[in-house]
């Protein structure tokens, strides 16, 4: 044992050094949005399948995490379900003298979920705003039964959180009682279990809950989220999903981004529940 241990340790050291040397310089790292992570993982798998030797690593964590990683230099590509903010662009410019390059790669509808048994089938954007800022607290104020509304949302590292805040709440704060959950799947799970719950998230994740038809204001028609209504923009809460890079894509990164925007790559978006951008 005494003789073998030093040998085993040097062997382990050599193997790990060799492995890291082999990995460095050949892979692309992509970090960011939990909304996009499944789709980008499918892209990565298909890309690695058709381009043997290429390595693409995909991690989630939230759009904010991905953008922070882009600014800190720990990722090649960042996937974000919201546009970069001014101070994020400024930090990127301070560090890398570049404003970042944004590429739209898919379209997404943001659904509002309620439990299937909930009688409320339509909500307007002003009503959603009142519900999520806490001014409306009871379902009977929006046409449902007499029960308090339980709010479910995402953590503030999520692009979905920021998009919803900017576009539906128009910058107002979420109600303090809004429970924060780590991913859209968790939001769907919580709403499915709670008869008085309401939640929001990417249109691709609804299972066991009903998606509410949304109208832009009290007079507009209520549109349910569906592939057609998101694609032609009639569903009021649609957004683009982005890939951000520090500089114009070049080399391995360019090959990957070009593949994603090709018909092959765009066809994969619908398989995950999103919509092609071309």
């Amino acid at each position: 044992m005494k003789r073998i241990l030093p040998f085993v340790m040097s062997l382990a050291l050599a193997v790990s050094l060799g492995a890291s040397a082999a990995r460095a310089g050949r892979g692309i790292t992509i970090k960011g949005s939990d909304t996009m992570v499944i789709m980008v993982q499918r892209w990565a798998e298909a890309y690695m399948g058709s381009h043997p030797g290429a390595i693409v690593q995909v991690t989630g964590g939230g759009s904010g995490t991905g953008i922070a990683a882009l600014i800190n230099g720990t990722t090649d590509i960042c996937m974000a379900s919201r546009p970069m903010k001014e101070d994020e662009k400024r930090k990127l410019r301070d560090r890398y003298q570049t404003m970042g390059v944004e590429t739209s790669v898919a379209k997404d509808g943001l659904s509002v979920y309620v439990r299937e048994q909930n009688p409320v089938k339509e909500l307007s954007i002003p009503q959603l705003r009142d519900i999520y800022t806490g001014s409306v607290r009871n379902w009977k104020q929006v046409g449902g039964s007499d029960a308090p509304i339980t709010l479910y949302g995402r953590e503030n590292s999520s692009g979905t959180y920021v998009y919803f805040k900017d576009n539906v709440l128009l910058g107002k704060d979420y109600a303090a009682s809004c429970q924060t959950l780590p991913g859209t799947a968790a939001v769907v799970n919580a709403v499915a279990k709670d008869p008085n719950g309401i939640g929001y998230g990417g249109a691709a994740y609804a299972r066991g809950v009903r998606e509410v038809a949304v109208r832009k204001d009290a007079k507009a028609p209520a549109i349910a989220p569906s592939p057609e209504s998101v694609k032609d923009g009639s569903y009021p809460i649609t957004r683009y999903l982005f890939l951000y890079t520090r500089v114009r894509p070049a080399g391995d990164v360019k090959k990957f981004v070009d593949w994603v925007l090709s018909p092959e790559g765009q066809a994969l978006t619908t398989k995950v529940g999103y919509f092609p951008v071309r």
Partner: protein, 315 residues
């Protein structure tokens, strides 16, 4: 002079090599010991350094200074007008820690008294390992259990509107803290000399009277140390509260409302922040705060253990 077995003669060179090997090994062990201390010092320096802008940098203080922490009751650090009110987080941490200790202290100390004073030896051999297995359960598993199973029980038993609330998080946290309190208290109770119990029983006291009036007070410092260690764990525990408490930063007195604690805020939000932003510094400030609180509690626990040792060996 040659009365024992002959020792093999060593040359001067092999003797020097032996000595050199001894010195080298001693140095390697010294390095191991010091790297542990160095690691601790690095963590302290890093956390406090990243938290300093909140106190010293005027640029950071425009958005997240000490007065912002107390000026508002909203915690919404991401948005057009970021709000860094600490009150909801403080209240949330307090509610969860108090409900956890309210469950864990009576059950833990009670189980320790039973195990050391009343239980037959075979039952004690079952009880102690069982609680140690509970200690070995990873906190993420406890949190998951609380999220999926316990929350439904709590809601069914209390009729609360939120499934994930302070009571749920407190109950799950109690499961995590219980083994520490039990183990330290039980060791303290067993360390009380038998002569104390025998004297009390000989004077006519019943076993319960002995346990409550003689043994438990004698081991008091040790039990207090166990409770303090459990408290330190409860304050710093992250994964259980992150999954079981609902994470809503609200101010309310009710245990049936969702809460957000300091530790869960750090865990949930630190991934998002950009290096050096006021939000980043604020989260490190919270981390430094948690470190100070648990440090003070641990030092207190250490002092109590010292007092116990002195009292039991002196008396």
């Amino acid at each position: 002079m040659a009365s024992g077995p002959r020792r093999p003669v060593r040359s001067a060179r092999s003797l020097a090599m032996l000595r050199a090997r001894e010195v080298a090994i001693t140095w390697m062990l010294r390095i191991c010991a010091f790297s542990a201390i160095a690691g601790l010092l690095l963590i302290i320096v890093f956390v406090f350094r990243e938290a300093l802008p909140v106190l010293l940098d005027p640029e950071t203080q425009k958005e997240a200074g000490l007065r912002h922490f107390f000026a508002t009751t909203m915690w919404q650090p991401v948005g057009d007008v970021p709000k860094y009110g600490l009150a909801p987080l403080f209240l949330g941490t307090l509610k969860v820690v108090i409900s956890a200790m309210a469950f864990a202290v009576p059950i833990g100390v009670g189980a320790a008294v039973f195990s050391s004073e009343f239980s037959p030896p075979r039952l004690r051999e079952l009880l102690k390992p069982a609680i140690e297995v509970l200690a070995g359960i990873p906190s993420v598993v406890l949190g998951f259990f609380a999220l999926i199973v316990m929350a439904s029980w709590v809601q069914a038993a209390t009729g609360a509107t939120s499934r994930l609330n302070a009571l749920n998080a407190g109950a799950a946290l109690a499961l995590g803290v219980l083994p520490t309190i039990f183990t330290v208290s039980e060791d303290a109770l067993r360390a009380v000399p038998r002569s104390f119990r025998e004297a009390s029983l000989a004077l006519g006291a019943s076993p319960w009277q002995t346990a409550w009036h003689v043994t438990l007070p004698a081991a008091g410092a040790g039990v207090a140390a166990g409770v303090l260690l459990g408290l330190a764990r409860a304050v710093g525990e992250t994964m259980i509260v992150l999954m079981a408490s609902g994470n809503a930063a609200m101010i309310s007195g009710s245990l049936f409302d969702s809460v957000r604690t300091f530790s869960a805020s750090i865990a949930a939000e630190l991934a998002e922040v950009v290096f050096g932003s006021p939000h980043y510094s604020t989260l490190f400030f919270l981390g430094a705060l948690l470190f100070l609180v648990t440090f003070v509690i641990n030092v207190g626990a250490g002092l109590f253990v010292e007092r116990l040792r002195r009292r039991l060996s002196g008396a």
